[in-house]
């Protein structure tokens, strides 16, 4: 069982939703409760909850892919808009993912868009030229 005792409430709730839906988070790698990687295989892709030095992140990889993207990147490619450089609160990210995973419609996106948007977002936030 994953140790989410130190995770923010939003991620604990997301974990419950995933488990309720029959796709529970499972430990992918574990060093300590504050350095661990959890994943859940869903029909919409693989959800990754990551604890890195006590910081928590949630991401989604397209089905069958091993590249993970945060909700800002996903949102940009689903709406075909420029990716935001703003930090999205974890609560909002978890909620966005819950709604995305619960949607019946199959979303249209290109993996190339996700990769490029992730690159622009990361470089842009660090003040580096892509």
């Amino acid at each position: 069982m994953p140790d989410l005792s130190s995770a923010p409430q939003a991620l604990q709730t997301l974990a419950e939703r995933l488990a309720d839906g029959g796709t529970p988070l499972r430990v992918h790698s574990f060093d300590s409760p504050t350095n661990q990687q959890l994943r859940a295989q869903t029909p919409h892709g693989t959800v990754q909850v990551l604890a890195d030095r006590g910081q928590w992140f949630v991401e989604l990889a397209p089905p069958g892919a091993s590249e993970f993207f945060d909700t800002a990147v996903w949102s940009a490619c689903l709406t075909r808009t420029e990716v935001s450089l703003d930090l999205v609160p974890l609560d909002a990210q978890a909620l966005w993912l819950e709604e995305f995973l619960a949607a019946d419609v199959r979303s249209e996106y290109a993996v190339e868009c996700l990769l490029e948007a992730r690159r622009r977002r990361a470089y842009g936030r660090m003040g580096l030229r892509p």
Partner: protein
């Protein structure tokens, strides 16, 4: 050593800190105590391979040695910390030496600063020349692999907040840096050549360390800035990116570390695998 003895030793370290906090000037204790506690936890936690958050929330239940810790140390060819290594009366000295080594002397800096600023010499109870202190230092690098490394940086960040207005205080909250050191204690890069430092997200940096027989530790930028030239020899070196720049997560410590390097003239190489001094 029994669990009871180990617990007793841990309590001794915290008791030392408690005594020091008791000597703080009136009004300073409330703000200084968390930072001192963090340092104490950082001293105890790496020594026992225990998770710092659990310690903070539930006290010190003794040794809990994670399998990944032992596996990592074993694969790195490093020494695995054993309870016997700390079976000494001078445990507080032992732990202090450990902390100094782990952070290139940064804990020594923090202790000096706290001692000078707030404790009126209480910190002198740690004898830097003692045998136990030296033994602790020798063990520092080995245990670094096991440490949830953000905690050291946070501890120094808290210290720096106490020192607002000083150089260290202004440099606070810039995050922590992760490094990889070879089994001989020399900082090394992924392929084993010297003079490169590895930074990255979990679990990439762990994989790097295990793949190269290296070990990791962390320190805060402000502590780094406050070090002596000898301690700062790692400046102007290359930083190996265990995580590609395009995969740096928004709001992460790693993002802040790279921003920190960028602000000091470092630029990514063409392949985005290194941060190198500008023009280098």
């Amino acid at each position: 050593m029994s669990r009871r003895q180990r617990l007793s030793q841990s309590v001794r370290v915290l008791a030392l800190v408690t005594v020091c906090v008791g000597l703080l000037p009136q009004g300073a204790s409330a703000s200084a105590e968390p930072a001192l506690q963090s340092i104490a936890y950082e001293a105890v936690v790496p020594a026992y391979g225990h998770d710092a958050k659990v310690v903070r929330e539930h006290g010190i239940p003794g040794i809990r040695r994670g399998s990944s810790i032992q596996n990592g140390a074993a694969s790195s060819g490093g020494r695995v910390l054993t309870p016997a290594a700390f079976d000494k009366d001078a445990f507080s000295n032992d732990v202090a030496g450990f902390g100094d080594d782990l952070t290139f002397g940064a804990t020594s800096w923090a202790r000096r600063t706290i001692n000078e600023k707030y404790l009126g010499g209480c910190g002198d109870v740690i004898d830097a020349s003692s045998t136990a202190h030296t033994a602790g230092g020798a063990l520092g690098f080995t245990a670094g692999l096991a440490v949830p490394t953000g905690y050291l940086g946070r501890a120094f960040g808290q210290v720096s907040k106490l020192l607002a207005g000083s150089k260290a205080g202004r440099a606070a909250n810039t995050g922590t840096a992760r490094f990889v050191a070879a089994s001989d204690g020399v900082v090394t890069d992924l392929v084993g050549s010297r003079n490169a430092i590895s930074i990255g997200h979990y679990p990439e940096y762990v994989a790097n360390a295990q793949a190269t027989g290296a070990r990791t530790f962390s320190m805060a930028d402000d502590a780094w800035n406050a070090m002596s030239p000898t301690e700062q020899w790692v400046r102007n070196q290359r930083f190996q990116l265990a995580t590609p720049l395009s995969q740096v997560r928004a709001g992460s410590f790693l993002e802040r570390e790279i921003g920190y390097l960028s602000g000091r003239g470092y630029v990514p190489n063409v392949s985005g695998t290194l941060m190198i001094p500008g023009g280098g």
